[in-house]
Symmetry: C2
Subunit: 179 residues, 2 copies
Amino acid sequence: MKFCSTCGQPVVQRVPPGDNRERFVCEGCGTIHYQNPKIVTGCLPIYEDRVLLCKRAIQPRSGLWTLPAGFLEIGETTVEGAIRETREEACAEVSVHGLYTVFNLPHISQIYMFFRADLVDASFSAGLESAEVRLFDESQIPWDELAFPVIRDTLKHYFSDRSTGDFPVRVGDIRFKDR
Amino acid sequence: MKFCSTCGQPVVQRVPPGDNRERFVCEGCGTIHYQNPKIVTGCLPIYEDRVLLCKRAIQPRSGLWTLPAGFLEIGETTVEGAIRETREEACAEVSVHGLYTVFNLPHISQIYMFFRADLVDASFSAGLESAEVRLFDESQIPWDELAFPVIRDTLKHYFSDRSTGDFPVRVGDIRFKDR
């Protein structure tokens, strides 16, 4: 951030009165521009015991497999965002069971949330950001070709919890240095 | 948003190629400025079966009671933010059990997350944004003087779940028109 989005003057970085960390501050109009982490929301879509994965057609991690997910939009609930992303990336409709995993990625200021969901039917296809969409048995999961650690951890939790039939919300931190 | 934070030129609102909703776009340097919901993170701090609440000293809802919470900062995990806010608003140290409630507030594009926590000792006091900090028995909770619906719902869940000793993650939507 170099310029004030309210008045167009250059901004400076300093600690505002009463605050304890540096912000981008406009010395022209006085606006303090806070920056905050973003939420990525998505689904773990299941159909007859198989998991739907999308092969990414865009960077980063183009060509690797992921669960349908993306940035939460203004005015959306996290479930609504997860359903929308599944529609956009996999052209699939889902029925959501509930929140399943929450991952903090503090090094990139992102919070991931995945919802367990059932595909309403076997209809799906590659959306604009996907090269291919496919259902995978547990034995077929391409563990070495998954796009992100959050995908691997969500799938690991799922296959482990599936043996008990109990799916509590799983919370974890994923830091760049760990992987 | 009126000006590009990258180059200072005026922005326009339009749907970028390949997108499906309006964004603030700079026709000078081409930057697309995405806007996203924010996370508010906080604690439900318990000490000897009593809940710690803070009387707000700032707007909005000055004079009403709240749980310590605030906007998640860049580079933080949600637990780290909840601990920091508890320190800032109640001068209290907590030991966190885990994520407890998640509320979507789509009308203001906020996602609230509260963590169950124990105060490590009976030491607490009003931070800069609080007029008073106090422990409340269930029978003493000022239900008509709570600052936000998320506070009421989190406390209701807590007292209900406490009778069973089981505290699953509770997820809900709170929309302005509902209250």
